[in-house]
């Protein structure tokens, strides 16, 4: 006889997910019952849902338990504990996803409404995707990892194609969908190999099975590589990046912001969990693989970005290249005892990068409301009629370039330090490649600054830009974070305590 017995559920630990789930239903319901001209309330509501979901994240982190398993073994079923875990790492990442989601709602408010798109559906999908991200941060099991990844990806495919009558947007969606599904298939194949080896989907069990010894080394290597490739698509690492520029350019700009920040961060969370929990003893496979990927990603992304004329495309390649910097500490993790530094470097980078990049997109959205153009030249003379936006954009670009005292410098610093900490050839060589790339990158960020500050206005139209309130709020949040995190990076205090994931796994 088969009977279902529920595991013991820690509702407090699950609260963020539950709030989001209830919120999704609410948004759908509200969308059904409000008249067309008041559909914007769905956006406002989604924003509140994100913030409401943030509340339990805060209470959980204040409680200060090192780790709690959201689902635990009941009397009738065993082996559930440790598959869905809330630890400090998960909490920090959840907060990052929810805040990014909130800023994306602020970015979307006017563009989605004025474009006449289906607002209710859009926000439902956005919330679903964020829910997937919140879940991936807690997943410590192949199945929950995969489910969360699909949960966050599938709504994003649809959002990329949201401008229904725009061919480029359709291209964006289809391309993203096809390559994303392909990546999922490869990853799933890798997961099945890992499951076959370990006989369990729990990541800690896989770690015990994947140690690159015994007679099944070949299968182990294949499994690891395939799973990493799956996530490499998500973070658009070279050579798995080809979807990103077209998708970023074609998708509605708020969606692009979402993909380049939150979706990318989710991919990195998956990679971190795998490297730190499932493959810590298989570094001979993932280190060379990810080292090459990191070096290629930052270099190729940079070199192609130099030539871009469209600002969204340029930021797309820039975000590919930034991904290379984030990969750098991950690639050399577990060398010379630097895993703590590596983990913190990646997390800090993701947080600062999110604030900065979302801010840059907010400025682009604000400016294109007037210029209706995505060309870099359309920013010409911005300083003469929108000094505030110019200064903000300068701050964001300088932060992306890593110039102190703006947030980006600390992110890059941490990444370099983790690489140098690794000592030895792998670490030093990638640090030098990174340093050269950091300089190359300034060249294209500065092109935009030059356009804004020093060039004339292309069409001579210097009417000031009206920035809607929601965009102003987004700009303020991102601007303040970028500045404050650059001057007082110690504020991301929670991150400072995190030294390892494996140790925090089981209570």
């Amino acid at each position: 006889m088969f009977s279902f017995a529920s595991p013991v559920v820690d509702f407090h630990a699950l609260a963020p997910e539950l709030v989001l789930a209830v919120g999704i239903c609410l948004v759908i319901l509200v969308d059904l019952f409000v008249p067309d001209h008041r559909r914007w309330v769905t956006g406002t509501l989604s924003g509140f849902v994100m913030l409401a979901a943030l509340l339990p994240v805060v209470t959980l982190s204040v409680l200060g338990d090192d780790v709690r398993s959201a689902l635990m073994d009941g009397e009738l079923n065993q082996g559930i504990t440790g598959r869905y875990v809330v630890d400090n790492f998960a909490l920090v990442m959840k907060a990052l996803f929810l805040l990014s989601g909130y800023v994306v709602v602020l970015l979307s408010a006017n563009s989605i409404e004025e474009g006449g798109y289906n607002q209710g559906e859009f926000y439902t999908l956005l919330l679903s995707s964020v829910l997937g991200m919140v879940m991936i941060a807690s997943s410590r099991d192949l199945v929950s990892l995969f489910v969360a990844l699909e949960f966050l990806s599938i709504p994003a495919y649809m959002m990329a194609a949201w401008k229904k009558r725009d061919r480029k947007s359709n291209e964006a969606g289809v391309k993203y969908y096809l390559l994303g599904v392909f990546a999922s298939a490869v990853m799933l194949y890798g997961m099945s190999l890992l499951y076959g080896l370990a006989g369990s989907t729990l990541l800690t069990d896989i770690a015990a099975a994947v140690q690159l010894d015994g007679d099944k080394v070949g299968v182990q290597v294949l499994g690891i590589v395939f799973v990493i490739i799956g996530f490499a698509f998500k973070i658009s690492a070279v050579p798995f990046h080809t979807w990103a520029p077209d998708t970023y350019e074609g998708a509605p700009t708020p969606v692009t912001a979402f993909l380049s920040v939150a979706s990318k961060a989710a991919g990195f969370v998956g990679l971190i969990v795998l490297v730190f929990i499932a493959f810590p003893l298989a570094q001979d496979v993932y280190r060379p693989f990810m080292w090459v990927m990191a070096a290629l990603t930052m270099t190729v992304g940079n070199l192609v970005a130099l030539k871009q004329k469209n600002i969204v495309r340029m930021l797309a390649y820039s975000s590919i290249s930034q991904g290379g910097f984030i990969l750098m500490p991950l690639a050399v993790a577990f060398t010379n005892g630097n895993q703590g530094a590596s983990l913190r470097a990646v997390m800090v980078y993701l947080i600062i990068y999110a604030a900065t990049n979302l801010g840059a997109f907010a400025v682009i959205i604000a400016v294109s409301r007037k210029t209706n153009s995505g060309e870099i030249s359309s920013f010409g003379g911005l300083f003469s009629y929108a000094p505030g936006l110019t200064v903000l954009m300068t701050i964001f670009l300088a932060s992306l370039a890593g110039i102190p005292p703006l947030g980006g410098w600390y992110a890059k610093f941490g990444a370099f330090k983790a690489a140098v900490d690794a000592a030895g050839g792998w670490g030093y060589s990638i640090a030098v490649i990174g340093a050269v790339n950091a300089v190359i990158a300034t060249a294209y960020y500065i092109t935009v600054m030059r356009e804004m500050w020093m060039k004339p206005v292309p069409d001579g139209d210097t009417t000031p830009i009206k920035v809607p309130a929601s965009l102003q709020a987004a700009l303020a949040i991102c601007g303040v974070l970028t500045l404050v995190l650059g001057v007082l990076p110690g504020l991301i205090a929670k991150v400072g305590d995190i030294t390892d994931l494996t140790g925090a796994l089981l209570p």
């Binding site: 000094p387 300068t394 110039i403 610093f413 640090a431 340093a435 500065i446 030059r450 007082l488």
Partner: protein, 542 residues
């Protein structure tokens, strides 16, 4: 360390930012209010500086004073540590003086395309970066301040500069960025290597200068040489030393007058200060190996800069090249690793700041009146604007190192020191090749002759002779003291008038300082010497 009045340096460093905050709320149209707030802030900052000057204990100038240390970025062991000793005091005060004077000068000289508010905000941000660099006693803090000046100066050149400003500003930016990227990597490497050294508790390691002062010298020489290389490039680009100097003539020529003055007077010193404060004391074992290379490059810079000057047809570009030569003397002094040499270098830094800053002021005012700086079109300045002409002459004399003026005390002792560099038996890190340095002395002395040549030639061509026909009959001295703003971009030359009130206020303090430090150099030497000995002691020389 003297830990009294711990708030003083932070106040002096960050006060300009308070002014920036206030200015953000002033409407763009209200230019007088913006200028007023900026100037008041700068004067208040200078007042804090003068108070610092008064409170400084000159009997213990080798110690860090007003010292304070606080937690800053705990995860990476970076601290907020600031302090002031005899080496940094003159530069710290100089940066404040220059900012005030530049602002006075800017009162009615805001360059095209206007936007007074932004221009003054940039100057205040620059001030914070410059002052912060000189008080920082933590490597990461130093790096952050070092970089803070980058963007404001980029915009100052790129927005308010001359015709070729975009090229010049980009070049400035990329050069500096390249240098600082390598510098940062070498800072991190220095930290990691000292942290992992045997017999060291890794938990004690931090980024404070004190830590590196104690542990940097224990690094194996080969490793230290590589780390020094990264710092060398970072600082040498900023100085700038041959062959990293090519950004400087472009940046100086294209920058607005204010930018040129700040660049020459303070920003170039960040590089030399970095050598004296960081590279040489932290890595003495590598410094001894690098010193001959620095010395040779410095002397090449002296000769190359002088020859470059002789070839210039533009007055501002000529002054820019003379900076390359003068900084060559400073670096030559540093490379001797002796008390005398490093003291001379520090004196030379301040003297060059005063004199070349003045020269750029004069060049800016000449440009404003004649709308050209082409040397062959200028002539008879002494007839048309006698006061301006005399000031130019005075500065040229000071710049070529005339005894009795400040420039002399930077150049002459540096040459003297290079005759007798660090050498002898039983030195902990070895000595330098006396023969090589004596060769350098001879070449550097030739450089002073060239300096006299190009400066006198410049003066003769621009100030002597008849007023060139092009500008004749357009100036009138009676008009000399007008303090009204005037149209700087009219095509007629009816505005050729002598030094005006704002210029007098901005320039007089510099002119007085050039004379005072020239007559009583001990004013500065006495403050610096104890702190310099503290650095040179580790080499065991004299």
């Amino acid at each position: 360390m003297i830990q009294e009045q711990q708030w003083l340096l932070s106040l002096g460093t960050f006060l300009p930012l308070v002014g920036v905050l206030v200015m953000l709320f002033i409407p763009k149209k209200d230019e007088v209010a913006a200028k007023g707030v900026a100037l008041v802030t700068a004067i208040a900052t200078l007042a804090v500086g003068i108070y610092t000057l008064v409170q400084f204990d000159y009997d213990q100038s080798e110690k860090l004073q007003f010292f304070t240390t606080n937690k800053w970025i705990t995860p990476i062991k970076a601290t907020y540590t600031v302090g002031l000793d005899g080496i940094s005091l003159p530069l710290y005060i100089l940066s404040m003086v220059i900012t005030v004077l530049v602002m006075v000068y800017s009162w009615n000289h805001v360059p095209e395309p206007g936007n007074t508010k932004a221009f003054f905000i940039l100057m205040l941000v620059l001030q914070t970066g410059m002052a912060g660099t000189f008080v920082a006693q933590d490597l990461i803090l130093f790096f952050v301040f070092f970089e803070v000046v980058l963007l404001p100066m980029y915009f100052m050149i790129g927005v308010w500069g001359g015709e070729n400003r975009q090229y010049a500003s980009l070049k400035f930016f990329l050069y500096t960025m390249f240098g600082s990227a390598l510098m940062l990597v070498s800072f991190i490497a220095l930290f990691v290597v000292t942290k992992n050294a045997p017999g060291v508790n890794p938990d004690d390691a931090n980024f404070s200068f004190q830590w590196f002062d104690e542990h940097g010298r224990d690094i194996a020489r080969d490793t230290a040489i590589w780390i020094f290389a990264g710092m060398f490039i970072g600082f040498a680009v900023k100085v700038p030393m041959f062959p990293f100097h090519t950004w400087l003539p472009d940046a100086h020529t294209q920058a607005p007058t204010q930018g040129s003055v700040i660049l020459a007077a303070i920003l170039l010193k960040l590089g030399t200060y970095g050598f004296v404060r960081i590279a040489i004391p932290f890595l003495p074992q590598a410094a001894v190996k690098w010193a001959p290379i620095i010395g040779v490059l410095a002397v090449i810079g002296i000769i190359y800069g002088a020859l470059g000057c002789l070839a210039q047809t533009d007055m501002k570009r000529l002054i820019a090249f003379s900076s390359v030569a003068h900084m060559g003397f400073v670096m030559l002094g540093i490379s001797t690793l002796t008390d005398l040499g490093i003291s001379a270098a520090l004196f030379g830094m301040v003297a060059h700041g005063l004199i070349t800053g003045m020269l750029f002021f004069v060049a800016g005012s000449v440009k404003e009146r004649y709308h050209t700086l082409e040397i062959k079109r200028l002539s008879g300045m002494l007839l048309q604007m006698p006061k301006m002409g005399w000031i130019l002459g005075f500065c040229a004399m000071a710049s070529l190192g005339l005894p009795g003026l400040a420039g002399f005390w930077g150049e002459f002792p540096a040459i003297l020191a290079s005759w007798d560099p660090l050498s002898g038996e039983g030195l902990p890190y070895g000595g330098l090749s006396v023969g090589l340095y004596q060769g350098l002395t001879i070449v550097a002395a030739l450089g002073t002759v060239l300096a006299a040549g190009y400066l006198l030639w410049l003066y003769q061509r621009t100030a002597f002779g008849e007023v060139s026909a092009e500008f004749a009959g357009t100036g009138h001295d009676a008009h000399g003291h007008d303090s009204h703003g005037h149209d700087a971009h009219g095509d007629d030359h009816s505005d050729i008038h002598d030094v005006n009130t704002f210029e007098w206020i901005a320039w007089t303090p510099l002119l007085i300082a050039i004379v005072v430090f020239g007559v009583v150099p001990s004013l500065m030497f006495d403050v610096m010497d104890p702190a310099v000995s503290l650095i040179t002691d580790r080499f065991g020389g004299k």
